[in-house]
Structures are given as C-alpha cells and as structure tokens.
C-alpha cells in the first residue's frame, strides 16, 4: 500500500503489533494489582501459567506450520491471550483448567482459522467459554475477598501454588469460597433486592468494595489505553452506555427484582470486557459507526443473558455472538467515500 505523504506535524504512535499488545498487557496491571490485593496470589499464578501455556502452544503451532517462530512470538498476541484468560478465570482455578482453556484458545480458536489476524472469534473468550460450559463448578467458585471482616483465610503464596498445582504436594487449602455478586443476585429467588444487599456477605459493603475497586482498576487501565490511542472510544463507551440504559430502564421499573446499573457495571467482568476484550482489533467491527453498534449490542446482550439466561456473567458469550455479527455490521456501516453513494444503497435503488 502506498503511504500518503503528509506534511508535518506527524503524530508518533505505537507502530508495531508487539508494542500495542504490550501496552494492553501493561494496562491490565492496575486491575491485576487490585485483584491480587483482594483475592490473593491465585490470578497472578494463573496468568504466569496461562502465558507460559499460550506462548508454548503458539511456538509449537507456528513451528508445525513452518513459519518464523520469533517473528510471531514477538507480536505478543499469544501472551495477551494468556494474560486475559488468567485474569478472567477464578483465582483458584486448577492448573488443568487453565491449560485446557489456553491451549484451546491458541490452537483451535486462533491457529486453525489461520493465525494472527485471521481469527473470527476472540481466542481468549473461546477458551473461557469452553471451560465455562465444560466445568461449571470450578468456574463459579471464587474466593472471599480479603476485605471481608472475619476472612483471615486468604491463602498464602505457597498455599495458592499447591492449590493450583496439587501434584506439587502440600496440604489442602481450606479457603473460604463464595459466589460472585452477579451469581448471588441471579439466584436470589423470591428475595427483594434490598434484603439481598442487606443479608448476603458477598454484597456487604466490605466485599462490594473489592469488586468495585477491581472494576475501577480495569477502567483506569482502559482509560490509559484510550489515552495511548490503542483503540478508539466507540466500542467501550457504546457498550457501557447501552448497558447503563437497559439496566437503568428495568431497575427504574422494578428496583426490587432487577439489579441496579451499578451492579451490572461494577459487579462483574463488564469493565474487563469493555476495555480489554470487546476492543480486540481482529475480531471486532472495524468501521467507526460499526463499532458503536457492535459495542452497544454487546452491552445489551450481556444484560439479557445475565438477567434471563442461564449464566450469571455473559461477557464471553456476548462477545462471541457479536464476533459472528461483526462482518455483517461492517458490511452495512461502510463509510461513505466522499462524492459517492454507499455501495449497497446504490444496488438497492437499482442503478
């Protein structure tokens, strides 16, 4: 492609794919730090293990495909996939769970479709959805956050390590696990929302603080990525606004049975999804208007699946569903070339 010769001032930005991916990995740090502070070492160990698996699988498949291993490894996309999987799995997820999710993400969701830039689905979310469907029990038990009064059982680094890799030996961890806020809210049954907030320990102010802070951490990381112009604001803002609107409408109609917008925005993986997952440049919509539709549809789908579906959180399913729709969205949101009509309108009017 011939590059346009534009006169100064020139804007310098992250040029190589590797730089972009590393910036994204860097931006997960605030969220990761808070996650580690509240839930112990589990996610850190998971991320290290998932990244190791991801990079090894990537290297293996690339060498089978007879491409240049170092060239593809230094775009760090496999590393990012590993980090995202490690962030989204529960902190005490056993080693084989992470192994299955990550290897499936890299080998099946990425390389069987042609590798970097060719995958129609977000690899990390394919891996996550796979283990969520296959191992629902392991995927829904979270540790109780450290900020909860009376919870002095956050396992130490060594305990966490032996809980994740039990064959290393050591004593079984007797940690205090509980459901996520969204899961608790989903299974509240006949209880009113206000009673639930008052009675459930996971929704008590001290525990809610943990979930809220982690979401705020991801929001901070996302803001940094926006500042670095890694992606444009359209997808995440559309996602968050759509989710706020739809959850706000139902909450205003019946605040006793529907969760507040705050619960939906901060209580689950919404922030992680909005800034780190829905913005994947390969599998999301690419036109500017298309990104608005794409983000908004994810926000609405997440709310629908959370409220009326079978799963408490739904970022993975919503993102995968919209990945299906991204080419379709792009087709109908082609930007108009100056001086021309949009192509499909032209065919419709029969010219």
């Amino acid at each position: 492609m011939a590059l346009l010769k534009i006169t100064s001032p020139h804007m310098s930005s992250a040029g190589k794919t590797g730089d972009v991916m590393l910036t994204v990995v860097l931006a997960t740090l605030p969220g990761l730090a808070l996650l580690t502070w509240f839930f112990g070492w589990g996610n850190l160990i998971n991320i290290a293990w998932a990244s190791l698996v991801a990079v090894s699988c990537e290297a293996l498949v690339i060498s089978i495909r007879q491409r240049s291993v170092m060239f593809y490894l230094t775009d760090y996309s496999a590393l990012l996939t590993g980090v995202l999987i490690g962030l989204s799995l529960p902190s005490l997820a056993p080693w084989w769970l992470t192994l299955i999710a990550t290897s499936f993400a890299i080998i099946f969701a990425k390389h069987l479709y042609g590798g970097m830039g060719q995958n129609p689905f977000n690899p990390a979310m394919v891996g996550y959805a796979l283990v969520l469907i296959a191992f629902p029990v392991e995927m829904t038990s979270w540790l109780a956050p450290k900020s909860l009064p009376g919870n002095d059982q956050i396992p130490s680094f060594l305990q966490t390590l032996t809980a994740i890799f039990p064959f290393v030996g050591g004593e079984a961890v007797d940690a205090f696990t509980m459901a996520t806020p969204l899961d608790t809210f989903k299974h509240k049954g006949e209880q009113l929302a206000a009673q639930l907030w008052a009675s459930e320990p996971v929704l008590s102010p001290s525990s809610w603080l943990a979930w809220q802070s982690i979401s705020a951490g991801y929001l901070l990381g996302g803001a940094y990525l926006l500042y670095k112009k890694v992606f444009t604001w359209h997808t995440p803002v559309a996602l968050l606004v759509a989710m706020t609107i739809i959850s706000g409408i139902f909450w205003l109609i019946d605040p006793d049975s529907y969760g507040s917008p705050l619960l939906h925005l901060l209580g689950g993986a919404t922030m992680l999804g909005a800034f780190f997952i829905a913005t994947d440049p390969v599998s999301s919509a690419t036109s500017v208007k298309g990104r608005l539709y794409y983000g908004a549809a994810i926000g609405i789908l997440v709310y629908i699946i959370r409220t009326w579906g079978n799963y408490p959180d739904a970022i993975a399913f919503a993102v995968l569903l919209m990945n299906f729709a991204a080419p379709f969205i792009d087709y109908y949101t082609q930007p108009r070339t100056y001086g021309h009509q949009i192509s499909h309108q032209k065919t419709r009017s029969g010219q």
Binding site: L130, I133, F135
Partner: protein, 237 residues
C-alpha cells in the same frame, strides 16, 4: 450411463464418497447421537437398513415412476422403511429406542438416504443399488462409530458403555474404563464437541488422501512425464 464396477461402488461408499466425511450428508443425526458408541452403532445400523431397503425398492420401481413425482414416491418408501425400523427397535431394544429418541423417526429426513435414491438407485440395477446402499450405510456407520468412540472417551473416559442396550446381556461387561476417576469433559458430549470432532475427522481424511497422493505421484511411472513438452518462457532460440 456406464455402470460402475462393484469395487468402485465399495470404495466410493467407504472412502472416496463417504456420506459423512465427503458428502457431509445426514449431519443432524451424526452430530446429535454420537455421544457414545452404543448410540452411534444403533443409529448406524438403523440408517444402513433403511438405506439398503430404500435403494432396493427405488431400483426396482425405477422404470415405472415418472420423473415428475419421483421425490414424493422416494420419500414414501423411505418413510415406510423408517417406520419398520422404528417398530423393530421399539420391540427388541426398547432402552436404546428411548435414548435415541426422535432421531430414529428423523432418519426419514436424512439426506444421505434420499441422496442415494436420487443419485444412484434410480439409475442403476438391483445388485449395484444393493451394494451401494450397504456400503454407504457401512461408511456412515463407521464414521458414527469413530466419532462416538472419540466423544465417549473424551467426554466420559469410558468405551463401549451400555452396549447391552443393543446387543443383549452378552455385552453387559464390555464397558472399558480407560481413565479411572475421570471427572468428565462435558464439552465433548455437547454439540460443539461433535462439530469439532467431525472437523478433525475430515481433516484427518484430507491428510491421509494427501499422503496417498504424494506417495502415488512419487512412485508413478515417469514415462508419462518425460514425453510431455515443457514450455519455457524467455531464452528460446
């Protein structure tokens, strides 16, 4: 049309034109019931019997049915055979009949059967049609079995469990537990596991076909190559 030799019909059904791996017909039952070997075998046998019956009947009436109404006639024939099979399985293997559920009546809609009636039996004599039906059925059943075994091993860690539902009390002890204390991999039992397993089988067939082709190319008599003129651009004087 030139009739195919029996050998061609057999290799077509089992490999080169396999209904499941190449024609990709009958995917609905293929993906839905291959959660275990016994289900796969039950449905494979039922499909094979229907295929043979429908191919034979269609071949017999091929000179009398006008082209314009052939499809309704074929569907009627297939539906009658499916009803027979359904009643037979209900009578003799009632538990298997229950576990296969709607997929036995749905054999009517299996395009592999109508496809063979339309593409083969309607144009060929009785013996050829019989062999074609048998071989297509066996080819389909083999794929079902491999897929069923794959999904049963990955999904439950066992092989040949519940075979007595189909084969009677002799098979009660056939269950092989490959992995002790296996906690199960639900994904393999669910439909996505079937799609992925099917994709892997098709890929495997392509690999084998490519290997065979390169082997044949390497060992072919080179005389046919040497007398071909090679055209070179440039530098011709």
């Amino acid at each position: 049309m030139a009739n195919k030799s029996y050998q061609e019909i057999i290799t077509d059904g089992l490999w080169t034109n396999n209904p499941a791996l190449v024609q990709l017909l009958g995917l609905c039952p293929l993906l839905a019931v291959t959660g275990s070997v016994v289900n796969a075998l039950g449905l494979g046998l039922a499909t094979t019997l229907v295929l043979i019956g429908s191919n034979l009947s269609v071949s017999m009436i091929r000179h009398y049915v006008p082209d314009t109404v052939r499809l309704p006639a074929f569907v009627m024939i297939i539906a009658s055979f499916v009803t027979c099979i359904e009643l037979v399985s209900q009578a003799f293997t009632y538990d298997l009949y229950l576990s296969l559920g709607i997929f036995i009546p749905l054999i009517v809609t299996n395009c592999a059967i109508l496809g063979r009636a339309e593409a083969f039996a309607r144009k060929n004599p009785l013996t050829e049609s019989f062999i074609d039906g048998l071989m297509m059925g066996v080819g389909f059943t083999l794929v079902l079995l491999v897929l069923g075994a794959m999904r049963e091993i990955i999904g439950q860690g066992t092989l040949f469990s519940d075979m007595d539902l189909l084969l009677g009390p002799i098979a009660a002890g056939w269950k092989v537990t490959l992995i002790d204390d296996y906690r199960g991999f639900l994904f393999a039992i669910l439909p996505p596991g079937a799609f992925i397993g099917m994709g892997l089988l098709i890929a495997l067939k392509s690999i084998i076909d490519n290997r065979i082709k390169t082997y044949q190319d390497a060992h072919r008599d080179r005389s046919s190559v040497t007398d071909r003129r090679v055209r070179v651009t440039g530098e011709i004087k």
